[in-house]
């Protein structure tokens, strides 16, 4: 498609903005570090205070990378869902992935206290959370794949996915009802999301999972473009809808599942960012929207994380609350300002 040069400019400035936000993100927190010092550190200079090195490299850098990865994975799975289901309000979690992960974590916390060990007892506890969340997400993913194998209609698939999601959420509520205050608090904290709990080890795991999840989408870019015209037209242009449905479920399952496993459920990024990409790049072409969503997703989550640090105070807000607070007005604004059905 045409208009290569304006897109190049947009991507270049997006990348620049991303790096800038990245540095600002590193400088913000309970200890304020001047942005200049942070940038200097990346060009070989040393921090003027020793403790800053530990704060930035040991804690804030993995957090920023986690934000970037989570932003990318959530946005890309949202983009796939919206195009596949031809629904502007679809997001990465409509097929119940995050509920599944939540169920895994809820079970872990219940079992954990039953066996007398705390989930937050260090590195092992983190991996335990990640693994149980992944297991929950994979379980839902398997159920959805089974459904997709039986059901050929996309709308039915979407409805079944929503039903799975609410059924699993109901199970979580039941678990919560029978759990004690401490367990409830643990689960609630997890469900508010956290970018800061991943360390370098987990970050590598997250990176590998993201790459595995992104590959199927990259192979299907052309098919997603064909899907803009609906399933019947896509089929008439040689797109194998069944194959696309499978790769979509697997790709979004891995992407949204790993994001939830490593950071907890993070709302709204997956719904809002693909719309922002369409708005900024004014195109429906997925070979543009795919990198654009990834870039904007990274920027938005870095910004949300910076906001959640409440610059100038020692407090931090839960990231899920911030993304929702930023995302909800965003989606409302989009709906009010533009005619969704026309622009989508």
């Amino acid at each position: 498609m045409k208009n290569k040069s304006p897109n190049t400019i947009l991507f270049a400035s997006g990348l620049f903005l991303c790096i800038l936000v990245f540095w600002v993100n590193l400088s913000i927190g309970s200890v304020a570090i001047p942005v200049g010092e942070v940038i200097g550190r990346f060009f070989g200079q040393e921090f003027s205070k020793r403790s800053w090195e530990t704060i930035v490299i040991g804690y804030r850098l993995p957090k920023a990378f986690t934000a970037i990865l989570a932003g990318i994975t959530l946005s890309i799975s949202g983009l796939q869902m919206q195009t596949f289901f031809r629904n502007p309000l679809a997001g990465p979690f409509v097929l119940g992935i995050s509920s599944g992960a939540g169920l895994g974590v809820a079970l872990l916390i219940m079992a954990g206290s039953a066996f007398g060990w705390s989930v937050y007892s260090g590195g092992l506890g983190l991996w335990a959370i990640i693994i149980s969340a992944s297991a929950g997400a994979v379980l839902v993913l398997l159920l959805m794949s089974l459904t997709a194998w039986k059901v050929k209609d996309s709308m039915t698939l979407l409805i079944v996915g929503l039903m799975f999601g609410s059924a699993v959420s109901a199970l979580i509520s039941l678990l919560a009802f029978f759990s004690n205050a401490e367990q409830l608090k643990l689960f609630t904290v997890w469900s508010m999301g956290s970018l800061g709990s991943t360390q370098t080890n987990q970050l590598i795991g997250f990176l590998i999972a993201s790459l595995i999840g992104i590959i199927p989408m990259m192979l299907m870019l052309k098919s997603y473009n064909a899907m803009l015209l609906g399933e019947a037209y896509a089929e008439s242009m040689g797109v194998n809808i069944n194959k696309l449905r499978w790769t979509m479920i697997i790709s979004t399952g891995i992407l949204a599942g790993s994001a939830t496993a490593f950071c907890g459920p993070i709302a709204f990024i997956g719904i809002a960012v693909p719309h922002m990409a369409r708005l900024v790049f004014r195109t429906g072409d997925h070979s543009v929207l795919f990198p654009a969503s990834a870039l904007i997703g990274a920027i938005v989550l870095l910004v949300c994380d910076a906001i959640s640090q409440l610059p100038g105070s020692a407090q931090t807000l839960p990231i899920n609350a911030v993304t929702s607070l930023v995302g909800a007005p965003m989606v409302i604004w989009l709906i009010l300002r533009r005619n969704f059905s026309k622009e989508f």
Partner: protein
């Protein structure tokens, strides 16, 4: 030149062990360079036939041959390079321009990123110029009229560059001028690009004017094919009108009530009389007209009504209707 052929084709839907037959024993040849119109009442299986030809629905029996080989011989991708379609589905994507949508037609021919080669671009340009939509190529779809949208969809199908072009009711929802234009555009495409064009339509009058071949589909009857003019002369066109009340008038080329029960005599110039009669037929019951005599004059229009001794004059049909009602 035969491009697509069927032998004793049975179409319908299969779900599990149950199958629902919709039409049976269809035999046809779809030829290159000709505009073929498929006509028939709603629910007779026209769309199912199209889906069967597209390979999206398997036939319940019989076979379809594309360029001499059975349809099942072709993969979905290979078929996409042979057959392009314009469907009734409304395109909801507003974020594409006309040019971009036409370029989507090249999807079966491009690599995994969908990047257009020089040849692809040429085909897109050709499709755009043949359908005369160059002037709106940078316009978003959300700002296109229905007529422009339909031409864009036709251009997209052209860009897909199959030998066969199938259109499902391309003129529905369009105004008169656009219907006429689209049909003649399709005829031109068939002639100039040597494509086999199959159009499902309910626009009998425009179809008669533009089509080379008619396929008439009627419930429980074999497919009737032939030159539209031949079908009119031998009366087979009435297959489309199974009801007792309507028939095709070969003289006017229009569908009209079979028995003209409305036989009120009106004197005057033929064209004017025809429309006065039409208005009376629509609004006034026949028994009210038993006792009246009507005469019309032209330039200026005067309608003279005689009822026994009373005479009345009207300057328009409206006044006459009001009086009689």
């Amino acid at each position: 030149m035969v491009n697509l052929q069927s032998k004793n084709l049975n179409i319908g839907y299969q779900s599990g062990k149950k199958s629902k037959a919709i039409a049976e024993d269809l035999n046809f040849n779809l030829e290159k360079g000709k505009l073929t119109c498929l006509l028939g009442p709603n629910g007779v299986g026209k769309s199912t036939l199209i889906k069967t030809i597209m390979g999206q629905v398997s036939p319940l029996g019989g076979e379809i041959f594309l360029e001499g080989k059975p349809l099942t011989f072709y993969s979905q991708k290979a078929l996409a390079k042979k057959i392009a379609v314009v469907l009734t589905e409304k395109i909801t994507t507003g974020n594409l321009t006309v040019g971009q949508l036409v370029a989507l037609g090249r999807i079966p021919h491009t690599g995994w990123l969908g990047k257009l080669s020089i040849e692809d671009q040429n085909k897109v340009e050709q499709a755009i110029s043949q359908t005369h939509i160059g002037y709106i190529r940078n316009q978003p779809l959300s700002e296109c009229s229905d007529g422009q949208l339909q031409k864009t969809m036709i251009a997209r199908a052209m860009a897909q560059d199959g030998e066969i072009l199938i259109l499902d009711e391309p003129t529905a929802h369009l105004d008169l001028v656009n219907r006429f234009e689209i049909m003649h555009l399709l005829r031109k495409i068939a002639k100039e690009s040597k494509k086999a064009v199959l159009v499902v339509t309910h626009d009998l009058e425009i179809a008669i004017e533009a089509a080379d071949v008619f396929w008439l589909m009627q419930c429980g009857q074999p497919l009737v094919t032939g030159l539209p003019e031949d079908l009119i002369i031998n009366g087979q066109i009435n297959l489309l009108l199974p009801s007792d009340r309507l028939s095709f008038n070969p003289k006017s080329g229009k569908v009209q009530p079979k028995i003209d029960e409305f036989a009120i005599q009106i004197e005057g110039p033929e064209a004017t009389v025809q429309w006065v009669q039409a208005a009376l037929k629509k609004h006034i019951s026949i028994d009210k007209l038993q006792t009246v005599q009507i005469r019309v004059e032209e330039n200026p229009l005067r309608i003279l009504l005689k009822q026994g001794e009373m005479e009345k004059e009207f300057l328009g049909i409206g006044g006459l209707l009001e009086f009689l009602d």
